[in-house]
């Protein structure tokens, strides 16, 4: 699965995108946040205030943290959007 990061998440992690193999018990957005925070200190830090971080699954905004990610090929993580 591809993970994509934008704005200050991208900058602080130093990663634009990466391919990851998620454990089989990581099936929801909430699970994904837990998994990310356990990767290392930097990830724990960046995702500490996870409530404000926004998620898109296959390029579609997903606000439900219980949403399934099992069919996702690309998940994006980013700060609140500031278009316009």
């Amino acid at each position: 699965m591809k993970l994509v990061y934008f704005a200050w998440l991208r900058e602080r992690l130093g990663i634009q995108e990466e391919n990851v193999d998620l454990p089989s018990d990581v099936t929801t957005v909430a699970n994904l946040f837990d998994w990310l925070k356990e990767r290392d200190e930097l990830f724990a830090d960046v995702f500490e205030h996870e409530a404000i971080i926004q998620v898109a699954i296959n390029k579609k905004h997903e606000q439900n943290r219980a949403a399934s990610i099992t069919d996702a090929s690309e998940i994006a993580l980013f700060p609140p959007m500031t278009g316009g």
């Binding site: 704005a7 991208r10 898109a56 905004h61 278009g83």
Partner: protein, 155 residues
């Protein structure tokens, strides 16, 4: 129902050209409202904004908001052009054009679209100060969330 015209691009746009594109072939349009969002210099403290976007998602989300606006306000045309990359004070960032038979629908369509772009279009803005140094990412504003409330619970 008419289809929206949506583009993300680095280049600037010309409002006159974009209005013509929307009007062509329809002589029953009575009202055209355009909204142009520009980069402000914040009273001389800002040298540029760098706009990052999520390609693919940006166009899809804008298109979806635009379809809702056409349907809700019975628009006869709707165009949205959103730039990304480095943009200096006085330069254009975004253009919305709404065309309709009657004026209030055109005003509401453009206004609705801008309110949703602010919080639903995947763009992020980084500030560069007057010395050219990288600064902060622009925070989302509570008043932008509040602005959505005037359109009801839709979306």
């Amino acid at each position: 129902m008419v289809k929206p015209y949506v583009k993300t691009q680095t280049e600037d746009f010309e409002i006159g050209v974009e209005i013509s594109r929307l009007q062509t072939g329809n002589k029953n349009i009575g009202a055209v409202v355009t909204f142009t969002g520009l980069c402000r210099d914040e009273d001389g403290s800002l040298s540029a904004l760098e706009l990052e976007h999520y390609p693919g998602m940006a166009e899809t989300e804008i298109y979806s908001i635009a379809e809702q606006a056409i349907d809700r306000f019975r628009l006869d045309g709707l165009s949205v052009i959103h730039r990304y990359g480095k943009i200096e004070p006085g330069e254009n960032i975004v253009l919305v054009i709404a065309a309709s038979r009657h004026r209030q629908a055109a005003f509401d369509g453009a206004n609705f679209l801008m309110d949703f772009l602010k919080t639903q279009a995947p763009f992020w803005k980084k500030e560069y100060d007057i010395t050219g140094k990288e600064g902060n990412w622009v925070d989302a504003k509570d008043r932008d969330d509040d602005a959505l409330k005037k359109w009801g619970s839709q979306t």
